[in-house]
Structure formats: C-alpha cells, structure tokens
C-alpha cells in the first residue's frame, strides 16, 4: 500500500447523495435536515419551510420560472434576444436555494440563475435586458441583495468571499440576532469549479472563516465537456481539503436543497465559517440558444434526467400528501402563461437605449477623455440629424 493517500476511487463510490423526495414523490425522512425544514421536527427553529402552502408556493415558482425560461428561448428565436442561457431542469436547485436564504443574505449568481433571481423578487424581464443587449446588468445589487449576473465564470466567487469579509467587519455574523446576522450564497457550476478563482476563494473563506456558502449546481455539462473532466472525485469532496465542510444533495429535490442550503447558511451566519454544497442536477436544454447539445450528448441521457424532473417530483409529493388539486395546477399553468405573455410583450415593446448612454457610467467621477469623446460622438451624430432635417425639408418641398 502506498504512503500516498487518495480519495479515488473508494471514497468517491461512498459519497452519499441526500434525497428527501424520490422521483416518484415519496418522502424520505432525514433527521438532520428535517430539523431545518420542518417546524414539527426536534431541534427546529420554528420556521417551517415545508408547510403545504409553502410546498405549493415552490411548485408555483418552478412552474412560473420554467414558463419564463421557455418564453425567453422563443424570444431569442424571434430575434428579440441575442442569446438565452436556459436553466431548464435546475428549477428545484435554484428555487430551493433562493428560498433557503434569508432576506438579509447576499446572493452571488452566475448567468444561469433565473430561479434564484425569481426567488429574490427580481422580475424576469430584468434578466432579459442583458441577453437582449440593452444593458449589462439590470438591477441594484444592494437593493435586491443579489450580485449582478456573472459572465466570466468563477470571477464572482472571490466577490462573495469579500462581501462576507465585510459582513464580519460590520459585526453581523455570529451575534445570535436572526434578523440581522447575515451570510453570502456563492453560486457556480461544475465547469467554473475548475477556475483558479474558485480555489482561491476557498482559501480566503477558510483562512478568514468568512460567512459564505458555496453552492455548486453540478448540471453535468460545461457546454460540451462532462463534469468528469472537471473533477475525478465528486465535487462535494473538493472543498474538504480546505477544511470546508460539504454535502452532496439531489439538486432536483427542492426539499433536500432547501434543507442543506438553509442549514449551511445558518451555520455561516452563526460564525461557523464557510460551507459547501454540491447539488446534483441536469441542464435539460443546450448550453445556450447558440449551442447544439446533440453534438456531444446522447438523447437517452436527457430522457433519463427528464424522468427525475423537479417540478413533476414535487407535484407527485403534494398529490401523495393530498395537498394539491387540479384547480391549483391549472391556475399555476394559467398564471405561468400570463407571465410568459407579459414577458413577450414587454420585450417586444422594449425600445433600444440611446447609445449616448454608453458614456454615462464608465466612471463614477468626471473623466475628461470620456467627456470629450461623448461630445465628439454627439457632434458627429448631429451632422446626420441636420441631413435628416434637410431630407425631410426636401420631401416637404417636393410634396408642396
């Protein structure tokens, strides 16, 4: 036996996957996470995340965001968006993680976090602004407690840790005040987990015991490259070398995600340092509307994951509980259709911004070169306005 210890392959095979809802909707008890989710469980803080009303709320949220997602793909096909990155199949991971966070927490997303945004109250049309090309963002991060969407993957991870270091300095970690103690949820995928900045973020978070939860949605594919190329061991094991506790959960199971993320954020908020969660899920659509997934993955794989669908799973669970009826399901579908139509009309009616706006926010303080170039631009386009006026005057003359 070698003196060099490894986690491959024996530990990999043993890495558990926590699942509270089986694909057929069957509920499996889990004492530790049940204490987080259910008010009835021993050790609960009284905030019941699994009341029938809340479960129906998660169901409605997932139906709504899926409809918005499908509509966004249609809008791209209609030429209304330059690109769309679908989150189909990842609704439970995102709605679960979003609702597990508390109002004061700060969430740091990638560009495929539409369910997270929905759970944080960010209207879907705001997400579409950057995909349409009318802005690079769309919201005030401090107002909505959500960082901008991040395109350079992995770059957001140290931002999350830095924000968490700020929370430590502000004295809002580990005081026991549940209304003000705050943590950060840093999101990234299996692909971005290979970025050096994610590893550096683990180092900073561990060394300073920053109140940050790293939440990886392992959706199996980084465009065309499978997760096995990103990591030889389950990603959940990645952080343990840094001394960051971690867990692997079924990302298509909204209750498992809720429980794990709530428990991890509570620990971080209480001053217990960083935590890491791997949510195992699947990117049901192609990487983006510019991608063709049939070039690199078999259709049978998509069919297999389709049977683990997060929305269907929660609906079956609610049916087993006798807490959902056809009228509710129909109402959700109708509301989702209305949302999609609103989105459709909002985007179709969205006017292009005046290009002079591109000069406005490059700097916070006056900048002589940007100001000079803005003036040059305005003078340049003013020439054509004169020409347009002349053209109109000529037309009027001809008509007269």
């Amino acid at each position: 036996m070698s003196v060099f210890a490894t986690t491959i392959p024996s530990v990999a095979e043993q890495e558990p996957l926590i699942q509270l809802l089986a694909p057929d909707g069957t509920r499996t008890p889990h004492p530790e996470l049940d204490a987080v989710i259910s008010a009835a469980a021993p050790g609960s803080d009284g905030d019941d995340l699994a009341t029938p009303e809340r479960l129906r709320g998660y169901y409605r949220d997932m139906v709504m965001i899926r409809a918005a997602d499908l509509e966004a793909t249609s809008l791209q096909r209609q030429g209304q968006l330059g690109l769309w990155a679908s989150a189909l199949g990842q609704e439970a991971a995102q709605i679960g993680a979003g609702h597990a966070s508390r109002e004061q927490d700060y969430l740091v997303p990638t560009y495929r976090e539409h369910g997270i945004a929905w759970a944080r109250g960010i209207e879907p049309w705001r997400l579409l602004e950057s995909f349409r090309g009318v802005s690079h963002g769309g919201w005030d991060p401090n107002e909505l407690r959500t960082h901008p969407y991040m395109i350079v993957l992995g770059s957001q991870a140290p931002h999350a840790v830095g924000y968490a270091m700020g929370l430590q300095r502000d004295g809002v970690v580990g005081t026991g005040e549940t209304a003000t103690d705050t943590a950060v949820l840093a999101l990234f995928g299996d692909g971005a987990s290979s970025e050096g900045e994610v590893s550096e973020s683990f180092t900073f978070a561990a060394s300073f015991q920053a109140p940050v939860v790293f939440f990886t949605q392992n959706n199996q594919w980084a465009i065309s490259v499978p997760a096995s190329v990103q990591s030889r061991v389950p990603l959940a094991q990645r952080s343990r070398g840094w001394g960051i506790p971690s867990v692997r959960v079924d990302g298509n199971d909204v209750l498992a995600v809720l429980g794990a993320v709530r428990a991890a954020l509570d620990a971080a908020r209480a001053g217990e340092g960083p935590q890491f969660i791997e949510a195992v899920t699947y990117r049901m659509a192609a990487h983006t509307t510019s991608d063709d997934a049939s070039r690199y993955r078999p259709a049978v794989e998509e069919q297999e994951w389709g049977e683990k669908d997060p929305i269907l799973r929660l609906r079956r669970h609610l049916e087993q509980l006798g807490e959902i009826d056809e009228a509710f399901i129909v109402r959700c579908d109708e509301e989702a259709h209305e949302l999609a139509m609103e989105l459709h009309h909002h985007i179709h009616g969205m006017e292009d911004p005046d290009p002079v706006g591109m000069f406005t926010h490059a700097y916070a303080e006056p900048h002589p070169i940007v100001e000079a170039e803005r003036e040059q631009y305005l003078e340049y386009i003013a020439q054509f306005e004169d020409e347009n006026e002349n053209d109109k005057a000529e037309q009027r003359g001809e008509q007269a």
Binding site: H136, H147, G166
Partner: protein, 327 residues
Amino acid sequence: MSSTNLPIAKAITAGLRDALRADDKVLLMGEDIGVLGGVFRVTDGLHSEFGSQRVVDTPLAEAGIVGTSVGLAVRGYRPVVEIQFDGFVFPAFNQITTQVAKMHNRTAGAVHMPIVIRIPHGGGIGAIEHHSESPEALFAHTAGLRILAPSNAQDAYWMTRQAIECEDPVILFEPKKRYWVKGDVDPDHRPELSPWQAEVVRSGTDATLLAWGPSMPLALESAQAAAADGIDLEVIDARSLSPIDFPTIAASVQRTGRLLIMHEAPVLGGLGGEIAARISEQCFYHLEAPVMRVGGYHLPYPPARMEHAYLPDLDRVLDGVDRLLAH
C-alpha cells in the same frame, strides 16, 4: 504639523495611515503587509496601530486579493490592496480588467468601486525576473480604471490620499527605485493641482520632455545636461496616466514645437505612442519635428546585469534630444 522631509515610501505610509484614521471603511490587504510591514516596509507600523481586521495579511493569491476587494467594495468598504511587485499583478489581471474596471458600468452606477491597487513598478533595482516591469499601458487601455504615478514624496502622500478618496478604482504605480529618495511633504495643505493633471516641473523653450514616476529624476538630470550644451528643455511630469492630461502637454508643445516622451516600458504599444498620436493631431502646425520616444525595447525585461542597456539613461535621452533638434 508643517512640512516634513520623508522618503517616498514613508510618504505613502503616512498617506495610508491618515486615510485609515480618517475613514474606518478604509482597509489594507496584501501579502506580507501586516506584521512584516510589506516587503518594501510601506505598511510598516500600520498593523500594530490598526489591527488585523484593517491591515490584512492575505493568502498568496493575487486574484483572490483583488477579487475579495470587489466584494468588500460592494459592501461599502474602501480596500487598498498591495500587489507585491509589478510582474505579479497578472494573476489578478482578470479581476482588475473584467471586474474592478467594469462593475460600476455593469450596475449602471449603482455600485462604486473605490478600490486602490498599489503596485511598486519599474526597473533598475538589480532584481530577478518579474520584479522590474512597467505594465501601465495594459491598464491605461482598460476603460473604468484610473492610474496615478507619483514621482516625488509630496505627490506620493497626496496621491495615496486622493486615490483612496476617489469613487473610481485607481492603480497607484509606485516608483520602487525611488522609494528611499526624500522630499518635502505637507500633509496639512491639500495641493491646488489636481492629481489628474500633469505638471510642468521645469520651464524651457527648445523642446518638451515628458516622463513620469521613476523616470522623473532622469528627465530633470537630462534637462540640466542639455542646458550645459545650450539646449533649454521644458520638463513635464505626467503624474496621471489615466486619464492623461493632454491639454497641459499640448500647451507646452505649442510653445516649444518639439516633444520627446521617455518611459521605461517598451516603446512599442507603450503610452508614448498614444501621446505622440494625440499631440500630432492637436499640435500638427506647431510641431517642428516628429514626436519622438525613448524607452524599453520590444523584449522581455532583461536580466539585471543587462538592464542598464535596456532602460533609458542620460545618454539615450540626450541622443533623443539631438534627433529631435536635428529637424
């Protein structure tokens, strides 16, 4: 307190100390900046005065240092990060150019990035590879960043203060070869000259010599030597490299008719090229000669025993002046 005589390094220390005292949102981060006081001792004594929450010894990871400073800035802090040497900034290049420079624009002004990135820069110190570089053009090319390059103790103090007060991210290129050159600092009276303006430090009539940061002593020495030959050079300290103060440079060239730009960075693609192009556009009918440049070659920075041949020196600057005046 009236004017005191301080080396440039200690003027920066004083600037950092006064900024830390003035605003409790200011904090310093970097490698070895705490107990050790920085490899150049620029943060000497600050850890003991302000503690490890405000003077933070970080892990050895530049992207992490700059990346976490972005998060701290979103949270309302004003991080001042130290990159240990110019050649070590590149692991943080992504964070600086895609995040620090763009977050204000990305959020349509909702989030400010009052981050200062201190970088000891320039060569001539006999160092090993990656310790002598002048990467200012790489950052000046990136919109969203500002760059200051103090050349003397008074500017070193005040530019440190003003960079920290600025709502935009500022890269502070510190002239490491001149860290221990002393000069008068008046911390009680805010200078009238904006940090974003160039300064005519010697008046002259025959040609304008423009330089900045560690090259300024050589520029002034060259003007003295030229004067002995009867050539009267006007010398400008650019001070700000982003934005560059073109009006001050153009006004000088309109008086002298000639411009020589001197920097340690490679001439090819360097800031001298941008300045030459703008001055040619703005002063074409005043120019008696093409704008000329003296600087590093299009090479990786050479080993220390060869750097004397790579860096501009008195003879190369005077040779440039001769070529300029030959027209």
